[in-house]
């Protein structure tokens, strides 16, 4: 499982130059996290696989627009997020759950939350129940531990909105885990 905490040296510059080995390395690094993110948003295996592939191809096409190489990850997740939104729009699902913008405390790092084996199913169920905007923020926080600013950039929302979404998502998660007398 790839680590996310350590700063990575991603071969973005050679990828930009069209080096297939560099693209292979980048795709290999992000394929699973990206798939998890997309799958947990669209809840459809085939659609998630298609969206991951579309994301890879879009990344290859638009790599010239990436300004900061070290933000390749958030840029890639941004593309995937846009693809998910496009898919939602096509399916005319109602996505936006309005959340009051408060909560300055984003409730610490994702690793602070530890889940026992017997809680895993409940955790996944709760994740599924969260409104998609909250789910997207929580997934980006959990999967890649992106800073809030980058999550705001990926989801194209204000920083305050991201903070509040993350706060409420975590609050819901804690409530559930507390109800199960764990954590």
């Amino acid at each position: 499982m790839p680590e996310v905490s350590a700063p990575e040296q991603l071969p973005v510059a050679p990828a930009r130059a069209g080096d297939p080995a560099a693209w292979d390395a980048l795709f290999r690094r992000y394929q699973l996290p990206l798939y998890v993110f997309v799958f947990e948003l669209v809840r459809d295996e085939q659609a998630a696989l298609d969206l991951v592939q579309e994301t890879f191809i879009a990344a290859f096409r638009h790599i010239g627009g990436l300004r900061e190489d070290e933000k390749f990850g958030s840029w890639l997740f941004g593309i995937a997020h846009q693809k998910c939104i496009q898919r939602w729009r096509k399916r005319t699902e109602i996505l936006v759950a309005e959340i009051p913008e408060s909560a300055d405390d984003p409730d610490g790092a994702p690793d602070e939350l530890l889940i026992r084996r017997e809680q895993e199913a409940a955790f996944m169920k709760l994740l599924e129940q969260l409104p998609p905007p909250q789910r997207a923020v929580l997934l980006l926080h959990f999967i890649e531990d992106f800073p809030l600013e980058e999550i705001a950039h990926i989801t194209e929302t204000a920083l305050g909105t991201v903070k509040s979404r993350l706060h409420f998502a975590k609050k819901s998660l804690r409530r559930l885990l507390d109800a199960n007398t764990i954590l």
């Binding site: 998890v36 696989l49 991951v52 592939q53 191809i57 994702p110 939350l113 530890l114 999967i143």
Partner: protein, 145 residues
């Protein structure tokens, strides 16, 4: 105890082979795109060469002896022209230093100056300035005469 990340990624580990296949598919598409663009560039180059080569093939090659003859004639003409140009240049240079030519030119120049001096406009002092106005009757009489 696991972190949410470990749970999430662990749950989807089974998708690994499918994701590998997708990655390979995407990479093959990308390399195909690359080769296509390379091929397009190559086709542009070949088109340019083809367009440039068309007149060569259709105009020059069928009658290459005639064109070679014409070329040789032009080369001889250019050579002659260059050699003559050099000769006249040298001749002009020798004429420039000839004292007799310089003397005759100076004499001609002097004559020209004298001729022009005779036809020169008289100075302002000799010309009548603002003649005094006369009565109109005198003017008409002068005109009739």
């Amino acid at each position: 105890m696991k972190t949410p990340r470990e749970i999430l990624l662990g749950r989807h580990q089974a998708a690994g082979p499918k994701l590998d296949a997708i990655r390979k598919q995407a990479l093959s598409k990308l390399s195909h795109q690359n080769t296509q663009t390379e091929r397009q560039a190559a086709s542009w180059v070949s088109l340019i060469f083809h367009l440039a080569g068309a007149p060569w093939r259709e105009l020059i090659l069928p009658s290459r002896r005639i064109w070679m003859g014409l070329g040789a004639v032009w080369a001889v003409l250019i050579l002659i022209n260059v050699l003559q140009g050099d000769h006249t240049g040298r001749a002009a240079g020798s004429r420039a230093v000839s004292p007799s030519v310089m003397a005759s030119w100076q004499v001609q120049q002097r004559w020209m100056n004298e001729l022009l001096a005779d036809r020169a406009i008289p100075p302002d002092t000799d010309r009548p300035r603002n003649p005094a106005p006369r009565p109109r009757s005198e003017e008409t009489r002068w005109a009739m005469a």
